[in-house]
């Protein structure tokens, strides 16, 4: 295992606060929410595991006991669907075999919410985001109560507002709150200048 301090990017003499801050920043960066459906999700998960282990090791070393790492287990927990073909399609998508998954879907006669959701997932994995969103929207329309479909669509609709931004890049000129804050700090009367 790598040196836990170099994993977190801090020196061994860093204070508990600094370690915690570094850990939090990294955990935010590689949080599973930022890699939902992402073909690189497994790499992010590995990183997350490495960071958690490093933080655990350091806190154990320092306190000689309990640790308080980020331990929320994350699995791509798909809802179990009744149709065995859909389960096979999901497994194929998870294994990265998109062509076979698409072929299986193609051979099915009926098209319901699940069908559109899985087509959307295949398109998303390919990077065909426009088609992915159309399919997700269709799935939500056919089955408005399914949280999985709604979440997939919501992730796509949040666009540039979601996801991780490194320090100092959070206001790319489009975040109204930050812009307002900057303006009110720059002007002597404390109000908006624009």
């Amino acid at each position: 295992m790598r040196d836990p301090y170099s994993v977190l990017g801090v020196s061994p003499s860093a204070s508990d606060e600094e370690v915690k801050k570094a850990y939090r920043d990294l955990a935010r960066r590689y949080h599973p929410d930022n890699y939902q459906n992402n073909p690189l999700a497994d790499l992010a998960e590995e990183k997350m595991k490495e960071i958690n282990e490093a933080y655990d090791t350091i806190t154990k070393q320092r306190s000689g006991g309990a640790s308080g790492g980020y331990q929320q287990g994350y699995q791509q927990s798909y809802q179990r669907t009744a149709d065995p073909t859909y389960i096979r399609v999901r497994n194929l998508i998870n294994a990265g075999d998109l062509n076979s998954a698409e072929q299986l879907l193609f051979e099915m006669g009926r098209k319901d919410g699940e069908w559109y959701f899985l087509s959307g997932s295949i398109a998303y994995r390919r990077g065909w985001l426009d088609e992915a969103m159309q399919n997700y929207a269709q799935a939500v329309q056919l089955d408005p109560n399914n949280m999985e479909y709604r979440q997939a669509l919501a992730v796509m609709q949040r666009g540039a507002m979601g996801g991780y931004r490194p320090m100092g890049y959070s206001s790319a000129g489009c975040d109204p709150c930050t812009t307002y804050l900057c303006c009110s700090m720059c002007t002597p009367w404390g109000g908006p200048c624009c």
Partner: protein
Amino acid sequence: MFGYVRPFQPELKCKDLSLYQATYCGLCRCLRRRYGLIAPLFLNYDFTFLALLLWEPEASFVPCRGRCHAGLLRKEPMCPDSPALDQAADQSVILAWWKLRDSVRDEGFWRGIPARILSWLMGPARRKAARRRPAFDRTVQSCLEELSALEGEGCPSLDRTADTFARLLQSAAPQEGARGRILSQLLYHLGRWIYLADARDDLEEDRLAGRYNPVAARYGPAGDDRALRLTMDQSLELIGAALQLGDFGCRLPVLENIIYLGLPRVEEAVFDGSWKEIKKQKIRRNDR
């Protein structure tokens, strides 16, 4: 390519600007050394980004001083030759040449003359580059052929047309291992984003000329800026997510600047029509 991939200079630290400039100048020198005096014509910001991305993460930034191609009396700090610069130089020659062939075919006899002359002059350079990167040469050719076939049949799918250019750019990096996967996702979505930005930029011009435009084919002749921006922003998200997973050493701050500030700003400009102005701006230090 098109120059869409550029840093946002006001937010770039001095040392990162020096790194960026030395990479740019280094790429210019690399083009000149490998492909002769007219090859630096193909120098652009997009391939400077590619060189920064492909650089070995453990290599630190040690510039040397070299003579500038544009003003031979001036000496500038430049990155010395490296595999990443060589690769970016080879690939920019290949892509530029195939784009020239494309415009020769699209422009008709008289208006195609400059492109024909230039592509004739660059023929030997491209053959040399193709010998060095045969796989990339083949992919560029086949992707551009696919693209013009889709354009010819008026393909209504935004993703299918963008996919051809995205795959083209994706093939610029090696695909093996975890790093390969990261780079290939990053470049795929960068290619997609560039293609869509270019299509939006050409929307008005294509409409007047009665040409095919993928944005018009998908959303109607006026386009749909909200929907298009959303899908472009999603690609930017995935580019950022991929960048965070990779190891880019001392080049990370420049890459972050380009991805989190440069690209969104260019996108903004393409949509509000100020891109032509920004395109002309040079990325350089003011003290020279």
